[in-house]
């Protein structure tokens, strides 16, 4: 029964997409994907997603560290606020960023309708991933190991690089993969702040949307298949990471 449900709700629609995108043969598919507008949208999508994921890998780890190891007033509030991007509708997230960083910015930080705006929006929606995957690992991590290293004369950086980082790396990586998946497919927060200018600030998801609206579903399907392929690869990566993360539990 659950298989039927999943089949009707999820699998069948995906099958329709794959069929549509390969209906005209591999050659037609390739021609659409390599068209200049599709190319520029895909490059922009993967490029910005990569930048954002690196940013959030660093800042997300710092945030997780502060939430676990630091003590200050209002920490539990900060901890709760981290999940806000999960709870907030993406279109509201976009509008929210537009209010502060748009043309009517009260601080003069007008970045809307540029590629920087896309990075900003993606930082917003992918913020929780790395924090939430690193935080539990840091909580479990034994401080004694670090103290031992320090007593043997290791500096702060050496302790972090040799002891903390290897332990939290799987956490960071799974957060990065989840964030990457999210960033590649994001539309709601981008659509109001990026301006969606073809060849400049039009990301792949917006390209797909515009092609459907103008009655070219086969163009949309080809680019969507690329995104779908990326999603499958990332799902596989999550599976592999999960396998390694639980390796010692099974052994």
């Amino acid at each position: 029964m659950i298989t039927t449900y999943l089949l009707v709700i999820v699998v069948l629609p995906i099958a329709a997409l794959l069929w549509e995108s390969h209906k005209g043969g591999l050659h037609a598919f390739w021609q659409i994907v390599s068209s200049p507008e599709a190319q520029s949208a895909l490059k922009l999508t993967f490029g910005t997603a990569f930048v954002v994921v690196v940013l959030n890998a660093v800042l997300g780890t710092v945030t997780a560290w502060v939430l676990v190891r630091d003590e200050f007033r209002g920490k539990s509030l900060v901890n709760a606020v981290i999940d806000l991007p999960f709870a907030l509708p993406t279109i509201v997230a976009g509008l929210t960023l537009l209010a502060l960083y748009g043309p009517q910015s009260p601080i003069g930080a007008h970045v809307a309708f540029t590629r920087g705006a896309i990075v900003l929006a993606l930082c917003f929606v992918t913020l929780p991933f790395v924090v939430r995957t690193v935080q539990p690992v840091l909580l479990e991590l034994d401080v004694e190991m670090e103290e031992a290293a320090r007593s043997l004369g290791a500096g702060q950086l050496a302790v972090f690089r040799r002891i903390v980082l290897p332990n939290i790396l799987p956490g960071i990586l799974s957060g990065v993969v989840l964030a990457l998946a999210r960033a590649l497919g994001e539309i709601g927060s981008i659509v109001v702040i990026s301006g969606n200018i073809p060849y400049h600030t039009e990301v792949a998801s917006v390209f797909i949307f515009n092609q459907i609206q103008s009655g070219y579903p086969e163009y949309a399907a080809a680019v969507a298949t690329v995104l779908l392929g990326a999603a499958f690869v990332l799902l596989l990566a999550i599976g592999v990471l999960r396998f390694f993360a639980t390796r010692h539990e099974r052994a």
């Binding site: 329709a16 800042l59 560290w65 200050f72 709870a87 993406t90 913020l127 459907i212 990332l234």
Partner: protein
Amino acid sequence: MPRRLGLRAVALGYLVVILLAPLGMVFYRTFQSGLEPVWQTLSDPDTIHAFRVTLIATAIAVPLNTVFGVLCGLAIVRRRFRGKGLLNAFIDLPLAVSPVVIGLCLYLLYAPRGGWFGTWLAEHGFQVLFAMPAIVLATIFVSVPFVAREVIPTLRELGNEQEQAAATLGAARWQRFRRITLPSIRWAVIYGVVLTTARCLGEYGAVAVVSGRIEGSTETATTRVEDLTLTFNTAGAYAVSLVLATIAVLVLVAMTVIRPREENA
């Protein structure tokens, strides 16, 4: 200590720049010109209708995906069957795939001209695309994983000794589920339901593709926000956003309250 303060400043500074300052700005902008425009938008029949469409879709998707999530969790944790890995992967798929791609998939299935089922359905007088059924299908699709993802780890931790004990004492299957399993996974289910609801209410990408966004008919709350923005009714867009943001904050409060219980249960 300065290093510690430095890290704290970086983390909090980032949160303020990305999250809190923009959100505060929306509150300020919404009420900047008084309550009148806010009220005007929120009492507009098209806005009310948009919220109703969103609520109907959510009210259908959440119970379906809750039942599915619990059954799926039980199957994945307790049963051995072929294709389990595949099932596990397909549950996560809606999290990894762009909502626009999901919308396109449904479009290709249900388009009245050329869709796999759409053509047949149109001949028999059913319109799925650009109507309520498509909005519901899109909402269900994007919110499939949440309950299952919360229930699976809890069921793993739980083990099945208690149920086996109950079975040897003569408890029937349904009795075991109702008296033992369900109470143990209760908080995980509730947490999953909260996440599912938030996702349903906030869905934009997939719904934007399949709903047709007809004012007062198939427009949802989120597409309404975009349409108000595009027609330069900024105050109206902020007002609708504020309602959605308030719901998000309530969801956040619920998450904060429920999570410790889920972890202790």
